[in-house]
Symmetry: C2
Subunit: 315 residues, 2 copies
């Protein structure tokens, strides 16, 4: 089922005691550089350092006591895993997380730090799904998919509700797209609350399955995606594809250099730490492939979880 605006309002109310209402930042240097008035929705300041907490929190607290009693589980290479672990801890239930063994150490530590029970798997889709099935069978935990889940999508949409409450006269909103949970929630929240607002997705050229899928009018899976934006490697689901197809103006692909340059610019000028996946949305403005000049543009800075020991610029 496609979430409604009402579902997003309910999600906002449900997560309000647990999630941060994140600030909206502006930066003159950025505005000058990209030729637009940019409003940065700082989900890097969200609990667990990413918007993912919104969706996970909404999903966990939507479960009935019966559904929740054996805990929750998921597969995730990163932020959704941390988010689900924290939301489960807040509700007092177990979180079983299937993670690829090559996930960044900082993300493994964070999941464990939130009390998540990690089962490692080979870094392939097949291994991940097989491992998840074994975990579900042995624990009875409720599976919370990272994005192919209407409650997760509704939760992600709450970021744009807040952004539009703070900045009602936005002309456009840009969010990064991986599996499409954030972009789906963003597009529903934005287009249902503001007629005519433009919603754009930012995607790495090197993982451009959403761009190609929209062109082809059918889901084309990600094939050998290879990008520094490691949160955006996954492909769309039927659910997110259908939402994005009907509500998103276009997916704009950005180069790896554009991602790194805009990430560094945000760190240097706005003095905030954002992860490459968040920079993908900034890079849409940075590379100017689509004309947004002079407009008021909201950008969802999706997260700030970075391994500071592995930064994509020279010492």
């Amino acid at each position: 089922m496609i979430p409604t605006l009402q579902n997003i309002y309910e999600a906002a109310e449900r997560i309000q005691p647990h999630a941060h209402r994140t600030p909206v930042m502006t930066n003159e240097s950025l505005n000058e550089r990209v030729g637009a008035r940019v409003y940065l929705k700082c989900e890097n300041f969200q609990k667990v350092g990413a918007f993912k907490f919104r969706g996970a929190c909404n999903a966990v607290f939507s479960l009935s006591d019966e559904e929740a009693k054996y805990g929750v589980c998921t597969h995730s290479s990163g932020n959704h895993a941390q988010a689900l672990a924290l939301a489960a801890r807040m509700r007092g239930i177990a979180a079983h997380i299937v993670m690829p063994e090559n996930a960044p150490q900082v993300k493994k530590d964070a999941v464990a730090g939130y009390g998540g029970k990690i089962t490692f798997c080979e870094p392939t889709l097949q291994a991940r799904e097989a491992t998840l099935r074994r975990v579900v069978e042995s624990t009875g935990a409720a599976f919370i998919h990272p994005f192919d889940n209407e409650r997760v999508i509704a939760g992600q949409g709450t970021a744009s509700l807040e952004l539009l409450a703070d900045m009602p006269d936005l002309d456009a909103i840009i969010a990064p797209v991986g599996g499409g949970g954030l972009l789906s929630g963003t597009s529903i929240a934005a287009t249902e609350t503001k007629k005519g607002i433009r919603v754009l997705g930012g995607e790495p050229e090197m993982a451009d399955d959403a761009f190609r899928s929209l062109q082809a009018r059918k889901i084309l899976p990600s094939e050998h995606p290879k990008t520094i934006a490691d949160g955006l490697l996954t492909s769309l689901s039927e659910l997110t594809f259908s939402i994005i197809q009907s509500r998103v103006e276009q997916i704009v692909t950005v180069s790896e250099q554009g991602i790194v340059d805009s990430m560094k610019f945000i760190w240097e000028r706005a003095k905030i730490v954002i992860e490459p996946s968040a920079a993908v949305a900034v890079a849409v403005l940075w590379e100017k492939k689509v004309d947004l000049s002079g407009l008021k543009v909201g950008v969802i800075l999706s997260g700030g979880n970075v391994d500071l020991g592995k930064l994509p610029w020279g010492k």
Copy 2:
């Protein structure tokens, strides 16, 4: 003359159209790690990325038209230079900046970007002062000392006025100390507006002249200071020493490792970019050499200007 609380209120009014009112951030992980409730005054988000804009702006806009007509000048290895250049540009006057030739490239670029006219000198006190004298003689510019200036000190004090307006029940405030402008302004603003509040200075062990000066009850200059906190290499002046001696409870010295660790922690957990000099104030809590457990502690995060190509942790 020692600035009064009234001078700081006037400074706040004078700089209000030009400076940011910076946010106060909190972070649960930090609170847990240091055992106190910490309120981070984010001067890394200030114009030019540092509190220095407050003092420079107050000084520049305090000048009469007659005093201002040949512009302003200063010597500075960094943030004060950028701050003075920007404040001068806002007033429409020239800024002549004497900088050591070995200053970080990112700071040279920023000063030039704000329209400052740079004269490079050898990285010694003698060369700096001689070069400055030549600049003053040839231009007639008004010298705005980075900290030995009552208007600069009054401007720096406005950060604590704002912090205490937002968080009136603070038990203590910590600011880093180099030349002592920030700590002086902080101590006047805090002790004059809140009876009994504790004001502490944070200083690198490797540049501990303020600590030693307070112990000796006389100014002992910095000798071969060598610290990653490159904003804190300077020694106190008579003016800042006298203010700090009468209003600051103690100077707490912190290790280089403590500076780096607390800086990295703030980047990773609070998702904001702070410079090593700002981390010095965090490190006072981090290293727990003074008992502030359970207290509400304000920390002035002095700035966020860092060369991202030269970070103090391994790749």
